[in-house]
């Protein structure tokens, strides 16, 4: 394994993390809501792909939009019904609420799908590796890298160049002022929550091959999403993107180079970063 190969693995991994966490960063910034259950939507997406492929023989590529749509629909419904009453409550209540949701999602998925790791068989053209200037690159990782890269660019464009994006940014900046300006913050949030959940579902589907998938997924990767958001901030797309890349590369490198340290490096890195920037990047503290 050359360093470059590891680097590309790390970048692909980071790309998936970004897609998984991007929705969380916007919902957290927008409503100041701590949604620890974000990973549950990712898990839903992952299982949609598994079921469609294993039981109905749907082509992998076609399962991706299905994963997105299912998770988005779940996000939309839950936002309308359960999440909305929680916005006005304390962070503590939000944390308890979303942990409750995670527990339910984990147990329910265990009941429906069993607790084993899910494996999918990728189409032929995504398997194996190819060489570029002597550097061996996994086809699937390259595919993920390109797909998520395009997605990140699209998100960046939507966020920074469109009317929707500018309204969203205004709302993230100060929801009260935005409301005063006539921006329908609640509606924006419903859409954003749905899209964010959908993206998580999409990331969950793409990530089966890279992160694995079993019912404990929402718990296992919760800290990763939170790191991306904490380190990357909530006001831009670039922040979480860079954070996800950093996290992906650091994690993959750490695991290859110092396997005995496990995830230690990542957590230490996060704590250190939070120490250096204690307000994290949720710096708009409203104490």
């Amino acid at each position: 394994m050359t360093l470059l190969t590891i680097l590309i693995d790390g970048l692909a991994y980071g790309m998936v993390l970004f897609v998984l966490a991007s929705g969380l960063s916007v919902t957290l910034g927008l409503m100041n809501f701590v949604n620890l259950a974000h990973g549950a939507f990712a898990m839903v997406g992952g299982y949609v792909t598994v079921v469609l492929m294993q039981r109905y023989g749907v082509h992998f590529l076609w399962t991706l939009p299905a994963a997105f749509l299912t998770a988005a629909a779940a996000g939309y419904v839950l936002e309308r019904t359960l999440y909305r009453p929680m916005y006005a409550k304390s962070h503590l209540d939000q944390v308890v609420f979303s942990i409750g949701l995670v527990f339910m999602a984990v147990a329910a998925m265990k009941y429906v799908m069993g607790s084993q790791q899910q494996i999918i068989s990728l189409p032929e053209w995504l398997r194996g590796r190819f060489d570029v200037f002597g550097v061996s690159i996994g086809r699937y990782r390259f595919f993920v890298f390109v797909l998520c890269g395009l997605l990140a660019l699209t998100l960046h464009f939507v966020f920074s160049r469109t009317r929707f994006g500018s309204r969203l940014r205004a709302a993230v900046d100060d929801a009260r002022v935005a409301r005063g300006l006539g921006i329908p913050v609640n509606g924006l949030f419903a859409i954003t929550f749905a899209v964010g959940s959908g993206l998580a579902g999409f990331g969950g589907a793409l990530g089966i091959e890279l992160l694995g998938l079993d019912p404990t997924f929402p718990l296992k990767f919760m800290i990763y999403f939170l790191i991306v958001v904490t380190v990357g901030g909530t006001t831009t797309i670039t922040g979480p993107f860079l954070a996800a890349m950093l996290l992906g590369v650091a994690d993959v490198m750490g695991k290859y180079l110092i396997p005995q340290a496990g995830a230690f490096i990542i957590y230490a890195l996060m704590v250190a970063l939070l120490l250096l920037r204690p307000e994290g990047l949720f710096s708009r503290s409203r104490s």
Partner: protein, 335 residues
């Protein structure tokens, strides 16, 4: 009104706040009675007492100082491992283990306290979660000390006070855990009603005003965080000693989450929240697990969701209504 002896009335109010309520005495008597009344449930009762102590520890920082934590298992685990290792390699005396475990956890609390002093609730949740996971990874990596995934096995505890042998039915275990819980509860009760305790509530209520009143925020929070860590360490020691086993599970995220849920169920900030919450939690867990062992988490999750979505108001309102009908409980202390 104000003509009469005001200092006397002030004294009276301060005294009333810390006087023992009959319901409190009844609660502790009941805890002793069940030792004799439910001999088959002593193992479960022991688990409840330990969870209650752990939740009491969280209440000290969350309920009284407003520090949210998603990584409190770090201190439970530290205590459990120190007690377990001590029993394996140094001395089998439970009390020495208990003290050493508390001290080690307190030290960890003191060292990590600067991390939780900074930032807002969100950062704090993240940092404590990070510390918790860091400790888990550390214990996993240091498998030559901790036994890694296999855990510490073959712990044999000496007799409590040199007399009481730890038995299979949990007789000694429950008596031991309950005694430790009670003593630490008394200390906590004393502390929260002290000027120190009042200054913590001041910080929790309004940090800006507390500072403007001359309260050194960081010092006080560091002190209570360390104290809370010591309590969690004691709970960890009890866990290790009464089950003769320590595994990575003591550091797992679900421990931190569960204890927070327990405290939220019982209500933070009145010392009994963790105690009542742990009884409710353990009985529910036991009940649901007996019915659907693999999926009990689902029902706990559902309970929590319903609880914060409005069930709490209904439940607490109901209890308040009930209390109002019982003359014996008339001097209500909860808001």
């Amino acid at each position: 009104m104000s003509g009469e002896n005001l200092p006397g009335r002030v004294y009276g109010s301060l005294l009333a706040a810390r006087r023992w309520h009959p319901a409190e005495i009844a609660f502790w008597l009941l805890a002793v009675v069940v030792y004799f009344a439910l001999p088959r449930q002593l193992l479960l009762l022991n688990e409840i007492a330990i969870l209650a102590l752990f939740a009491l520890s969280l209440d000290l920082i969350l309920g009284y100082a407003g520090i949210v934590s998603l990584g409190h298992a770090a201190f439970l685990g530290m205590g459990a491992y120190v007690a377990g290792l001590l029993a394996l390699h140094v001395t089998a005396d439970p009390l020495i283990g208990l003290v050493a475990a508390s001290a080690a956890s307190a030290l960890l609390g003191l060292v990590t306290s600067p991390l939780v002093l900074k930032g807002n609730d969100l950062t704090r949740l993240m940092v404590t979660l990070g510390i918790g996971l860091l400790m888990l990874e550390l214990a996993n990596s240091l498998s030559f000390i901790t036994g890694g995934a296999d855990g510490l096995q073959g712990i044999v505890m000496g007799n409590l006070l040199g007399v009481f042998e730890f038995d299979l039915f949990g007789k000694t275990a429950y008596a031991y855990s309950l005694s430790v819980l009670f003593i630490l509860f008394l200390i906590a009760r004393r502390i929260v009603h002290s000027p120190f305790g009042l200054s913590l509530r001041a910080i929790r209520d309004n940090s800006l005003r507390a500072t403007a009143a001359g309260v050194p925020r960081n010092g006080r929070l560091a002190a209570v965080y360390t104290l809370s860590a010591a309590y969690a360490g004691a709970a960890g020691a009890l866990l290790a000693q009464t089950t003769s086993f320590v595994s990575l599970d003591v550091l797992d995220f679900h421990r931190s989450a569960d204890v927070m849920l327990v405290l939220i169920l019982g209500g933070p900030g009145w010392l009994y929240g963790g105690l009542v919450g742990s009884i409710a939690f353990k009985f529910l867990q036991d009940l649901i697990a007996g019915w659907t062992p693999q999926y009990w988490q689902f029902w706990i999750g559902l309970l929590l969701v319903l609880f914060v979505l409005g069930g709490r108001e209904i439940l607490h309102g109901g209890i308040k209504g009930l209390v109002a009908r019982i003359p014996f409980l008339q001097r209500g202390r909860r808001p």
